[in-house]
């Protein structure tokens, strides 16, 4: 089985937000919820960089550890998924998540939190692959169709890479070797306890 990861090559990201739009459209993500977003650091200053960030599908995921109802789990491909049937909307996964991935619709009491929503790596949820119920709750299940996450697939500069960790790390290493520079795999140390030596 593959170990699925995301890698954002910050030296290539042009902050076009196509990944954000693709994600919202593919999964019909409701208004106010963003499974992926692009953040620009040092905006307008020399050396600014943009990074596209979503759930990194961590090794030993902190969200899963702190969930009081154990509704978050890892698949055989190391994709971190959750069950909206079990989620109680307590918000603890957001405190634990290093990447701010969990999102909550404002439907709960006091307009606070409904059931958590986050990036599924285009892999749906616990329901049957490709079923209507799965689509309504979690969006499209591209992985079951043999496709990779749409955000990375349609990245115009191929800044965002998705796929097996070793393969995308190899692609990134070759890139860095060829062009002579690279600011590293953002978030990898935190998410996977490893980084890419370049």
């Amino acid at each position: 089985m593959a170990r699925m990861k995301f890698l954002c090559d910050a030296d290539r990201c042009i902050e076009c937000n196509a990944c954000v739009t693709a994600c919202k459209n593919e999964h019909e993500v409701p208004w106010g919820i963003n499974r992926r977003r692009v953040v620009t650091i040092n905006d307008g200053k020399p050396g600014e960089r943009s990074v596209s960030m979503a759930c990194m599908h961590c090794t030993d995921a902190p969200c899963a550890a702190v969930c009081p109802v154990n509704c978050i789990y890892s698949t055989a491909d190391a994709v971190v998924l959750h069950s909206k049937d079990l989620c109680i909307g307590c918000g603890y996964c957001f405190y634990a998540c290093p990447f701010g991935a969990p999102q909550y619709p404002r439907v709960g009491n006091f307009g606070s939190r409904g059931k958590m929503d986050k990036c599924t790596y285009c892999a749906g949820g616990p329901e049957a692959d490709g079923s209507k119920e799965e689509f309504v709750k979690y969006g499209a299940n591209r992985l079951a169709e043999g496709k990779l996450p749409l955000c990375a697939e349609m990245c115009s500069t191929k800044s965002l890479l998705a796929g097996d960790g070793e393969i995308i790390a190899q692609i990134y290493k070759e890139r860095v070797a060829k062009r002579g520079y690279g600011s590293g795999a953002w978030g990898w140390q935190t998410a996977y306890h490893e980084t890419i030596a370049t």
Partner: protein
């Protein structure tokens, strides 16, 4: 004509040269490849400086501008390890202590027996506020402990579906009952503050250990030093859990991710200690002491119970009774 063309050509060449010369010089000075990351922001450097990476985003959700906060892993350690230890030791430790104390000391009896005469200790309003706050507290405590310990203790017994349904209702109960609980704490604070200011009698009471060990009964006014401690723990502990609880209940209205994590840490620690103290309070109010429950149940206590535990209060009450009964003595004091 020809000379004019030649002159123009020469001028054009001269212009071309002066433009081209610096360009070719620059090209020679520049390195063969550029390294844009040399002066760009770097992940590890940013994390070392702030332990957080923030930037500018394009969506209204300001929280999303933080792309990395490894402190989430520290909070996880607190929630999964530290809080379990603090909570386990506080709650189980208190239960063990109380059982041991009951086995060794047994129920504190009314030594002089019941007199048959009753003295009003708490009026209906006081008892109403007490039981409203107490009921809320018990439900808040059980539903709160469920969030931290439920998945280890209860989930394996009843299964994921049932546990999730229960936890969902527990969350609603925890959120909504916080309001009457907070109200109860505020009223308790105002209602009993007069009797709960520490004074010299408390020092004596504490020196004698409240008479817990042995059979001595140090004198006390309406509330002894132990009760005053419970009062202040309820008022201050209640204020802290309420304040941090509302921060958690209205997420990110008043604070950022770090603030939310700190609020949860404070809420969790104070709450489990609060539960431990309240276990002791429940013990001494019920099986720990004969005649104590009556004070909060029907509002009046046996005179001998009051004489043993709150001697100075009984004297005050008697004096007030007498002055009320004989208006003549009240009107013309002896001195």
């Amino acid at each position: 004509m020809l000379t004019k063309y030649l002159r123009l050509l020469a001028a054009a060449l001269a212009v071309a040269f002066t433009v081209a010369m610096p360009v070719s010089l620059n090209a020679q000075q520049q390195p063969t490849s550029v390294n844009p990351t040399a002066d760009s922001v770097k992940e590890q450097q940013l994390l070392q400086e702030l332990n957080k990476i923030q930037g500018r985003g394009t969506i209204p959700d300001v929280k999303s501008y933080t792309i990395e906060q490894p402190a989430g892993r520290e909070w996880r350690h607190f929630h999964q390890v530290t809080l379990h230890w603090i909570g386990g030791i506080a709650v189980l430790g208190m239960l063990v202590l109380l059982v041991a104390f009951y086995l060794i000391r047994g129920m504190v009896c009314i030594e002089s027996g019941r007199s048959g005469r009753k003295l009003v200790r708490f009026n209906a309003f006081e008892r109403g506020v007490h039981w409203m706050t107490a009921t809320c507290f018990i439900i808040l405590a059980v539903t709160g402990l469920n969030i931290t310990f439920g998945k280890e203790l209860l989930l394996p017994l009843i299964g994921a579906e049932a546990f999730s349904t229960w936890s969902q209702w527990a969350k609603y109960a925890h959120n909504y009952l916080s309001f009457p609980f907070t109200l109860g704490v505020v009223v308790i604070f105002l209602m009993w503050i007069a009797g709960n200011i520490p004074n010299r009698v408390d020092v004596e009471w504490l020196k004698e250990g409240g008479g817990i060990i042995g059979h001595k009964h140090p004198p006390a006014y309406r509330f002894n030093a132990g009760q005053k401690m419970v009062y202040w723990i309820v008022v201050l502990g209640g204020a802290i859990v309420a304040a941090t609880g509302y921060l958690l209940m209205f997420p990110f209205y008043a604070t950022d991710i770090t603030g939310m994590q700190i609020a949860q840490v404070v809420h969790g620690v104070v709450a489990v200690l609060f539960v431990a103290v309240m276990l002791a309070h429940i013990y001494i109010g019920t099986i720990g002491m004969e005649g104590a429950i009556e004070a909060m149940w029907d509002g009046s206590v046996d005179l001998n119970w009051a004489r043993e535990h709150h001697k100075l209060w009984v004297e005050q009450e008697m004096q007030r009774d007498e002055t009320a009964k004989s208006p003549r003595t009240a009107a013309t004091p002896a001195e």
